[in-house]
């Protein structure tokens, strides 16, 4: 089973995940959730570290622009992730392993669909070889 490290912002996406659960929306158990106060709290170093340690994919989800509990957290995050994508793609790291989304507390359905979407994308890829910490 693939393993996706999910950084979910506490006020929106994490609540969205709760709603998905409460509403019994089915989604594959591929995510390992890390609850963060805001998508702006996610230091790109965490994404590098998650991939380095062998995650099949990383996913950061936060509030829609304008809904951020801290007003501007997701705006900062958006810039960081744009640069992260650009750099990883530039050096040739395979696409389909890094996901960003805005999911509000009321979008339980979208949360479940997004997880399904990520599973499909990650299933297409072979097991991780690039940028992997040695472990044996």
């Amino acid at each position: 089973m693939k393993k996706v490290i999910a950084f979910l912002c506490n006020w929106c996406s994490y609540a969205g995940a709760d709603l998905a659960g409460v509403s019994r929306f089915q989604y594959p158990p591929i995510t390992r959730t890390i609850r963060v106060p805001c998508s702006g709290r996610v230091n790109p170093l965490y994404l590098f570290k998650a991939l380095y340690e062998g995650a099949d994919a990383v996913w950061v989800s936060g509030c829609h622009p304008g809904d951020c509990h801290y007003q501007t957290g997701n705006y900062y995050a958006r810039r960081r992730f744009a640069i992260f994508n650009a750099l990883m793609d530039y050096v040739g790291f395979e696409k389909g392993r890094v996901f960003f989304s805005w999911i509000s507390a009321s979008e339980g359905k979208k949360f479940a669909e997004t997880v399904k979407h990520i599973k499909e994308e990650v299933e297409k890829l072979p097991p991780r070889q690039k940028f992997l910490r040695e472990n044996d």
Binding site: G66, R79, I83, S101, F131, E134
Partner: protein, 275 residues
């Protein structure tokens, strides 16, 4: 040119504008940084096409003192970037701007950054020595060329280059923007990446070091020039400079008041990559 620099330096000392001046003097192999504290020593200053290290990296050591710096275009932009990040006060730094003729390595080849240099004349200075020089329109042809290669080839190039690295951190110590108290690479608690020369650790080091320069790098090339193992790393930071310009319309080191791009935001930023 050298005479004019010495003249400006002497004047700055006489008018009490500086207590110490960082410039280039004659070295045994090439120009070497020198630190002048007395008017009489200004005649040690020289200027030629081997002044390729970025002197701004020394400024933080003299904080609180009136410090002069003989700065080519990229050096001056690094000073501005440091001021924008509140590391230096504009009034503490006296910039003797030198329109740069482009620097060369020991084989006489012009460095990559200089070939495409857009700001040979310092955008911010206290005094300018000699006529302004026009830069070239920067459109990062080397980056576009690299981008045109297939992903596998790019990853292979990136891996082959970082394999040469021995983690002596000359790139970090030569960069004026690398001034963290404790670098993420030295942190033990948590330990982000492993020590040693395994491919993944070397990739981790060079990716995250470059990432930290997004929107802060003046493309002076000191990192690649300082590297004893000739590891190509400038193409990483030049790519980020290109991204930052396209995405956020920002060029490092032009305006001491402007916040670095990742230190601010805009509601209109593109987000097509967000689900």
């Amino acid at each position: 040119m050298i005479e004019r620099i010495r003249e400006e330096a002497r004047k700055a000392f006489e008018e009490g504008k500086i207590e110490i001046l960082i410039g280039f003097g004659r070295g045994t192999l090439r120009a070497t940084p020198i630190f002048i504290e007395k008017k009489e020593d200004v005649d040690k200053l020289i200027w030629d096409d081997t002044c390729w290290i970025n002197l701004a990296t020394y400024l933080r050591r003299f904080r609180g003192k009136k410090t002069g710096i003989v700065a080519k275009g990229c050096d001056a932009r690094s000073v501005v970037a440091l001021i924008a990040e509140k590391q230096l006060k504009r009034e503490d730094v006296y910039i003797i701007g030198v329109p740069c003729q482009g620097m060369k390595n020991e084989k006489g080849e012009e460095f990559l950054s200089c070939r495409y240099c857009e700001y040979p004349t310092p955008p911010v200075y206290d005094v300018l020595v000699g006529e302004k020089r026009e830069g070239k329109k920067e459109n990062y042809p080397d980056v576009s060329e690299f981008e045109s290669m297939p992903p596998e080839k790019r990853w292979e190039f990136f891996s082959e280059e970082v394999k040469k690295c021995i983690r002596c951190y000359a790139c970090r110590e030569a960069c004026p923007m690398c001034y963290c108290e404790e670098c993420f690479a030295d942190s033990l608690d948590p330990r982000w990446l492993e020590p040693g020369l395994s491919l993944s650790s070397l990739q981790f080091w060079h990716l995250v070091r470059a990432y930290h320069q997004a929107g802060r790098c003046s493309d002076c090339g000191a990192c690649e020039r300082a590297c004893p193992m000739d590891v190509k790393i400038l193409y990483l930071t030049r790519k980020l400079n290109k991204e930052v310009r396209e995405l956020f319309g920002f060029v490092t080191g032009l305006d001491p008041e402007a916040l670095p791009p990742l230190g601010t935001y805009s509601t209109e930023d593109k987000e097509e990559f967000i689900l």
